[in-house]
Amino acid sequence: MTPLGKLFHKLGLFLLHLSLGQQVALFWNAIKSLFSSSRNFKTDTRNIILQTFFTGVEVFPTLFIVASLFGTVVIIEVISMMGKMGLSDIVGSLIVVVIIRELGPVLTAFLIAGRSGSSLTTYIGSMVINSEVDALATMGVDPVRYLVMPGLFGGCIALFFMNIIFSASAICAGFLLTKGIILLTGNIINIQLTWSYLSHEILGAITLTDFVFIVIKPLVFGAIITTNACYQALNIQRDVRQVPKATSKSVIRSFLYIVCADVILSIFYFVDYINNINTLI
């Protein structure tokens, strides 16, 4: 091996020894396995749909309640505070930034990581302990393809729809709840709110970048949650006590990676702002 080759070899091994590097490799393998010779459109679609429902539908009631309450709080806080400060015209931008752009995807991802990420880890982890994963491999069934791939795609699809539902219910149900509070308390909080005003402000503030990120963020977060959950599960070394450890690790690491990814993705917004400043000047 040439010195340069040795250097690359060492660098590659160093990256692959990191848990993050192994997760990227697992993600890549899962994507690659979609095109393997054993692909079967019917079974794959069924598995992915099952996984989507498993990830998405069962978390829906909690998600809906969290979203509407959270939306109410944000709408009341933003409108009353901005009204006091005389900045009523940036209400829409603030709501878009807080709900649609940042906290919507992140909170949805947290809920799904806590519910589906953890259950995916326990499910696959138990299979590892019972040597079911080994049995799959000895039958020539690739565990990455059979277990990780449907989870990955199902998680991404579910997170995408759940994110839209979260943002929509935060704004719509949040509006209704705020109206209800105004009605019940006799407008003690003293805010003027109509649907036409709110929708006009939000639609005016939303940009094309937001639409792009509504798609990209959930997909990235979904990939992070499911890859991490499957990785932690497959990494268990045949000891039953490792399953709860792996589960908590899966959830906590998912939170960490989601926030990191959120920051990295937000840099694109900053780039957007800087470009805007240039045009203004």
Binding site: Q22, S38, N130, S131, E132, A135, V141, P143, A233
Partner: protein, 275 residues
């Protein structure tokens, strides 16, 4: 050699490598890991074994000698620390030696606990690898599954989940699942443990049929030494970290080796004319 099914050459395994290939890690990670050089930390050393096509061979030995680990090595679940393995005369280099690669050579493994997929019914458990590898149409697969279930007499339990079955029955389903794949080499880990006498007696002709009709090479890890005699096959022992030469049951019974004294003592003590 054309009629060779499996050959192990100087296979050694360290305790550290026992955990096997992790599916979470890329293959390169375990391949470039530092190898254990200390012989004290090795579970087995310089194991040599040669099995012909259609031959049945038993591997015996005390508990904890690494019999199951040897099967896991052959199935590709554990990469040996040193040594090489040939399947049907073909050498698989260590960087490619994974369970999936070995399974392509039609090597099946029946686990000690059955290892059935717990959320699938018995019928789907048997059909899973067939469907995955697209071995025929749905009707063909159904036919094959029914045949396998009839063979192991688990047809009545076709719609039950594995947790509703007893251990022995789970094992029979696992054997049916392996059989349905038409393996050329079948590895069995303690096939008779947990079976009652009736089912044990029924299992043995089945193994016999498989090697006679389908020319399947069968490697059985077992504590049940009498099985060797009933199947009329050779047995070798994992003893003092290495594998002995295969010999018949009677050879071991009459020899004066340490293994015979340890493991065949009861047979010799109870020896009767019709035994």
């Amino acid at each position: 050699m054309l009629d060779e099914a499996l050959r192990l050459e100087n296979v050694s395994l360290a305790y550290n490598d026992l955990v096997g290939n992790m599916f979470s890690q890329p293959k390169a990670v375990s391949f470039f890991m530092d190898r254990e050089e200390d012989e004290q930390k090795e579970l087995m050393r310089n194991v040599n074994l040669q099995v012909k096509r259609g031959e049945t061979i038993c591997i015996g030995g005390g508990s904890g000698q690494g019999k199951s680990a040897l099967l896991r090595i052959i199935a590709g679940l554990v990469r040996p620390t040193r040594g090489s393995i040939y399947y049907f005369g073909e050498y698989i280099p260590p960087e490619r030696l994974t369970a999936l690669e070995v399974a392509k050579r039609q090597v099946g493994l029946v686990f000690q606990n059955g290892a059935l997929i717990s959320n699938l019914r018995v019928r789907d458990n048997i059909a899973l690898p067939l469907r995955y590898h697209k071995m025929g149409t749905e009707a063909d697969i159904d036919e094959k599954v029914k045949m396998a279930m009839d063979l192991m007499r688990v047809r009545d339990e076709a719609n039950l989940f594995p947790h509703q079955l007893s251990v022995g029955m789970q094992k029979r389903v696992a054997i049916a699942r392996s059989w349905a794949m038409d393996p050329k080499i079948l590895l069995m880990d303690e096939p008779t443990a947990g079976l009652d006498n009736y089912n044990r007696r029924n299992l043995l002709p089945l193994i016999d049929n498989m090697r006679k009709l389908f020319k399947t090479t069968i490697i059985i890890v077992t504590h049940d030494l009498l099985m060797t005699r009933e199947l009329n096959c050779d047995i070798c022992f994992l003893h003092r970290k290495t594998l002995t030469e295969p010999h018949s049951f009677d050879y071991w019974l009459n020899s004066n080796s340490e293994i015979s004294r340890e493991l065949f003592r009861d047979f010799n003590a109870n020896r009767s004319p019709n035994f």
